[in-house]
Symmetry: C2
């Protein structure tokens, strides 16, 4: 009986703060980082499970320590038994009677569970010889429901509701899979809009985005209103009237300020406003959503778990649900989030960017299209052109769309050289920077 | 100019799971633990700041690592400048542009900030030569407002609202301080009601609680309805009709189950039901509160920050606010929570127990009485008779009331011997247990 035998962690950081890539109103100087885990087995097939939590620098060591705390929950487990009951495996981590105190189901510990759960899914897909989206899309509705923990959800979504959603989507699976393989999945780009970029760079990147086939771009806002109005105007002139422009405040505002700020940008046709206030403020988001309609509210990259998503949907706090592949407890919890969105008829437009988030989250949107919502209408996956070169199977964007990946796994695997060179603080990149005193 | 010079952390754990003290429906086998920090300075007065985050065992190493991640935020700081702007110090930790990704403002990282903030307050009170409750109670309304971060609160509580609440309470401060010193602050006891105790022990401890002068007790519920009905009936018979009995489900239920379970216990006169469902479920708590009234809903020990408390109050989700001294980001955030409760006219009945939570939280309730709400009406601090012997200044309970502490500081300081013997995994207690293979 093959077992999980090794559990290896890495604190990997990229010195992105040097160029202000990824700069926004709240996260002014990120060093994109990954608390990374590799799982190995004695199955003899040489396959490994890779997963990670994404952070933006300081504290990536804490996140790595949290992943380490799960070692004994994995090493020694029977491989086949685990892979055949990934719903049970998820619960064994999330409901650990002592670890749960550190959340429950939020923050450092929950993200660590997400990294490990995603690593196990990576291995599962590799063993099945298919990309994760395909593995999930071929499960029966009953198998999918078994992956989800409905605790705290049943006032909004029961297992029976979920089964109905999945059964309704079943007949069209093959046809949609063919469409997906042929045409890919729509993307939008955040590349033009970082706060640290000057006007000329903004305009140039806006033109490039349109030329590259994107139909939606996103600007970071929230630091200075006059700057935001000017940048919004420049962007609108650059892309023309037919391209959607979303704005992203990264939690900068209180409720009243959010409403007045968005109203000031509205003349330039804002499609959605993202993270207008605290990601914890369900009622605040609802107040903002009512005030700024028909401009949409989007949020999710910092939403800690399915219980908050449930309430954001119940309260009408959002019109666009932005799940994140590495914030909640991995694939299983994101299946719950996709089912909740489908129940409420809200499109999912995932958060991505960072390190490897594009590589991961495309699988979830593609699974959603084939087997859950069955639609690409008003659905786009965020795309940012950073750091893809560090992955074995980087995303491919063609004509503003994600090309469906074909390589087996979840896309989480970084190059071995990257894991060594960018390891913090001892990797080559960091020791070189220390010598330069940057 | 004196500075902070040393920052020492300890992973301290008590093997409480051996006796099932502290067992409830979700936390079945806790080993009460503290991720502990000591701050030292070169002021030459020998005074130290002590603080900790409370956990229940596994993961206390992760929590300790999170506290360690704050070392560079403290060591080297000017002592007097820091102590004279503790509102600014709080923001420098909570809004660190990289660390905030690990929350924001929740879970492991936020609790770590709470430990450090509380340690600095411990030192501030020691340097002032007064207990913390007295230090806070002597601040002007303007000084108190400066300690609070109103970000994300202003749709419910503005700085002006807070000033008005504090100014209204100002005239009666001296009189209430005298009452507090003479009569103490009311307590209730959870000692009888742990799930791991048998019926005979439950009844015996109920009788003892009444004999000791308590007017409220609390039972853990949620594992088995028939058991809960039997235990509730036994407890009611033991204490008589005039003692309040609260029940605590520790997040066990979904919304519908919470309502039906509480209705089954209602004939035995339930005063409040605590943590009926996920601490993240603001809307779920509101639904439960409407359904079970006039039985009250109480929650707070797992409420991650002031933004959730704000919404619980806005939505009418609770009638009893149970702040915790070591879950949110320390004294400053709990002042925000006290002000929010005062604004909404909801009594604060803090969560305590664990390790040292009674020692800490009494200061916050006493400050609330003297300078914020100005009332003890329907207000009680939880009391559990565990592990007080490990503290330099353990709480004193007389006739069912907390006696106001007089020793300078925040009460957080453990005996040096405890820090050594219970250190995990190398302390004497743990190496002995390992030898016994327990």
């Amino acid at each position: 009986m093959p077992r999980f035998t090794e559990f290896e962690t890495y604190d990997v950081r990229f010195p992105t703060s040097l160029d202000l890539d990824g700069s926004d109103a709240m996260n002014t100087d990120p060093d994109y980082s990954a608390a990374y885990v590799i799982l190995r087995t004695d199955a003899g097939d040489g396959l490994e499970g890779h997963g990670f939590a994404f952070t933006i620098g300081r504290g990536n060591d804490v996140e790595t320590a949290a992943i380490e705390a799960l070692r004994d929950h994995v090493v020694g487990l029977d491989l086949d038994a685990t892979l055949s009951d990934l719903g049970g495996f998820w619960k064994s981590l999330v409901h650990d009677s002592q670890l749960r105190w550190l959340g429950p189901e939020k923050g450092v510990m929950h993200m660590a569970i997400g990294a490990v759960v995603n690593a196990v899914w990576d291995l599962a897909a590799k063993r099945a010889g298919v990309p994760l989206w395909k593995l999930l899309s071929d499960l029966t509705p009953e198998q999918i429901v078994d992956l989800v923990d409905f605790r705290y959800l049943t006032d909004a979504l029961t297992p029976e509701d979920a089964l109905e959603i999945l059964r309704q989507a079943k007949p069209g699976r093959a046809e949609r899979e063919a469409v997906l393989r042929e045409r890919g999945y729509p993307a939008y780009t955040t590349t033009p809009g970082w706060l640290g970029y000057d006007d000329a760079k903004l305009v140039r990147l806006c033109h490039e985005a349109v030329a590259d086939g994107f139909t939606q771009i996103k600007l970071k806002v929230g630091a200075n209103l006059d700057d935001d109005i000017r940048r919004m105007q420049l962007a609108r002139e650059a892309v023309g009237p037919d391209i959607r422009i979303a704005v992203d405040a990264n939690q900068r505002w209180d409720v009243a300020e959010a409403i007045s700020w968005v109203e000031a940008l509205a003349p330039y046709d804002v499609y959605w406003v993202e993270e207008p206030t605290s990601p914890d403020d369900i009622l605040g988001h609802a107040t903002i959503a009512r005030a700024i309609a028909p401009i949409k509210v989007a949020t999710g990259e910092h939403v800690q778990n399915r219980v908050i998503f449930k309430q954001l949907l119940q309260a009408g706090s959002l019109s666009v649900l932005q799940l994140d592949s590495a914030r909640v407890a991995g694939v299983n919890e994101n299946i719950a989030n996709l089912l909740l969105a489908a129940k409420f008829g809200v499109p999912v437009c995932p958060h991505a960017g960072g390190v490897g988030l594009c590589e991961l989250v495309q699988h979830l949107s593609m699974f959603d299209y084939v087997a859950v919502s069955g639609s690409m209408q008003d659905r786009v996956i965020e795309y940012v052109d950073h750091l893809h070169e560090h992955f074995l199977d980087p995303v491919v964007i063609r004509d503003g769309r994600y090309v469906a990946p074909v390589r087996p796994g979840f896309g989480a695997e970084m190059d071995a050289e990257t894991l060594t060179d960018f390891r913090f603080p001892g990797g080559k990149i960091w020791t070189d920077l220390t010598e330069e005193k940057k």
